[in-house]
């Protein structure tokens, strides 16, 4: 729990360092993206700190690639049989 509080405090400090200078030049788009990414980062790290299982982002990637891998595997087996 302490780690989560630390992460949140750190995120707020980071936001306070960057957002005022961005507000001064009225760069709203950067502020939105910056805050969104910071939120994702803080959420991900808090979930890790609380030991909540987050599925690996590689799982969908591996699912997309596995048909391709099967084709390659069949080539490899064909090659070793010779």
């Amino acid at each position: 729990m302490l780690t989560v509080i630390c992460i949140i405090v750190a995120s707020i400090i980071i936001a306070f360092i960057f957002i005022p200078s961005l507000l001064k030049i009225k760069d709203t788009k950067t502020i939105v993206i910056f805050s969104l990414l910071l939120l994702i980062g803080a959420l991900l790290n808090s979930l890790n700190a609380l030991n909540i299982h987050v599925p690996s982002p590689l799982i969908p990637l591996v699912m997309i690639l596995s048909p391709l891998k099967k084709i390659l595997d069949s080539w490899r087996e064909g090659g070793t049989r010779k």
Partner: protein, 366 residues
């Protein structure tokens, strides 16, 4: 904002250390598993074929000499497809950065400090990389220049200290592996060695001062990096033997543990570990910097610096969730990463080059 420039010598050093990257730590195990004692032949073939890949990167880079890679993508394939490709590229780079942090964490945790959570190493390492990204490529290039002599010195000491234990019988019989497994292992080797060099297009040629000598430096850096990797693979096979090399997670570290000169100079493997910590830092920075630059390009953000800390936090979080176990990490690096790297780091530049040729996008000749 002034454009940051690095010299061609700095670029050569970055190429050298970046091509070694994580490969020095994991590649001996992953290719020895498949082709046993012929791994060093596979690696040598891979290094030679890598010249072609680098030729491709350079040809693509020279087409758009004043743009970084994400800008070049948008210029070549147009705004809509360019943004889509850049977004995929950012995701891939961010995942790879997370993976490299995972490697640092798991290496320290399994080999050196087993009771410390890997997050503490990841945090320390991540802060250094974020700081380097914040200071920019110029400062990073100078740090690479400082780290290079240290790396070279440790590598030479490493080779000299381990060479008395060479047993030449370990590489025999030569050429026992089947041709198809050699082909697959070559691709596997190249996917960790030369394919990731596409990220150097972020700095080449737009941020390099003398392009002619930087082109030469690209080849020379990659070649020396290849020689270092072949040496490490050859030494692991010669000293540890193919079976032990393939069963260890980090064979280079196991190799360093074997160093023993006159029963006096022993247990210096932690000093040797500085070697791959250096190279992983360089490659990690390049991945991370690439993800920041292309993320800024996707959303048309002029100043990329505010994105560094949030993306750094995400990659540190990713390092904890990306591979639940080391077995899954090995499986991913052996089976899926080569496919992914071939698609994004060879076929994508090739496709970009063909489109650039068809659309007559060329460097302004003067």
């Amino acid at each position: 904002m002034n454009k940051e420039m690095i010299s061609s010598r700095q670029f050569t050093i970055i190429t050298l250390l970046c091509s070694i990257g994580t490969a020095i730590l994991i590649i001996p195990a992953s290719i020895t598993n498949d082709v046993q004692q012929d791994a060093w032949i596979v690696a040598s073939i891979g290094v030679i074929f890598s010249l072609l890949i680098i030729k491709l990167f350079i040809t693509l880079g020279k087409r758009t000499p004043s743009f970084t890679f994400p800008q070049a993508i948008e210029k070549i394939v147009g705004k809509f497809f360019g943004k889509a490709i850049n977004l995929c590229f950012t995701m891939l780079m961010l995942l790879s950065a997370g993976e490299l942090l995972y490697f640092i964490g798991i290496f320290m945790k399994t080999e050196i400090m087993p009771e410390t959570p890997s997050m503490s190493f990841v945090l320390l390492f991540g802060i250094i990389v974020m700081y380097a990204a914040y200071l920019g490529i110029e400062v990073f290039a100078r740090s690479a220049e400082i780290l290079f002599p240290v790396f070279a010195f440790i590598f030479i000491v490493f080779v000299l200290c381990i060479s008395p234990q060479i047993d030449i019988g370990n590489v025999q019989p030569i050429l026992e592996a089947s041709p198809s497994s050699m082909v697959f292992s070559t691709i596997r080797f190249m996917s960790l060695f030369s394919f990731p060099l596409v990220i150097l297009l972020i700095v080449f040629p737009s941020n390099v001062d003398v392009q002619e000598s930087a082109t030469k430096g690209f080849y020379i850096g990659a070649m020396i990096g290849g020689v270092v990797l072949v040496t490490v693979i050859l030494l692991s096979i010669l000293v540890l033997g193919p079976t032990l090399t393939s069963s260890r997670t980090f064979p280079s570290y196991a190799l360093a543990q074997r160093i023993s000169i006159g029963d006096f100079l022993q247990r210096i493997e932690v000093i040797m570990a500085a070697m791959w910590i250096t190279t992983i830092y360089i490659r990690m920075f390049m991945y991370f910097y690439a993800s920041v630059i292309s993320m800024a390009q996707v959303f048309n953000i002029a100043n990329h610096r505010p994105l560094i800390i949030p993306l750094g936090m995400i990659s540190m979080g990713l390092s904890q969730v990306i591979h639940p176990t080391i077995i899954e990490s090995n499986l991913y690096n052996q089976e899926y990463w080569p496919i992914l790297a071939t698609i994004f780091m060879v076929l994508l530049p090739l496709m970009l080059l063909i489109i650039a040729m068809l659309r007559h996008i060329k460097a302004p000749s003067n």
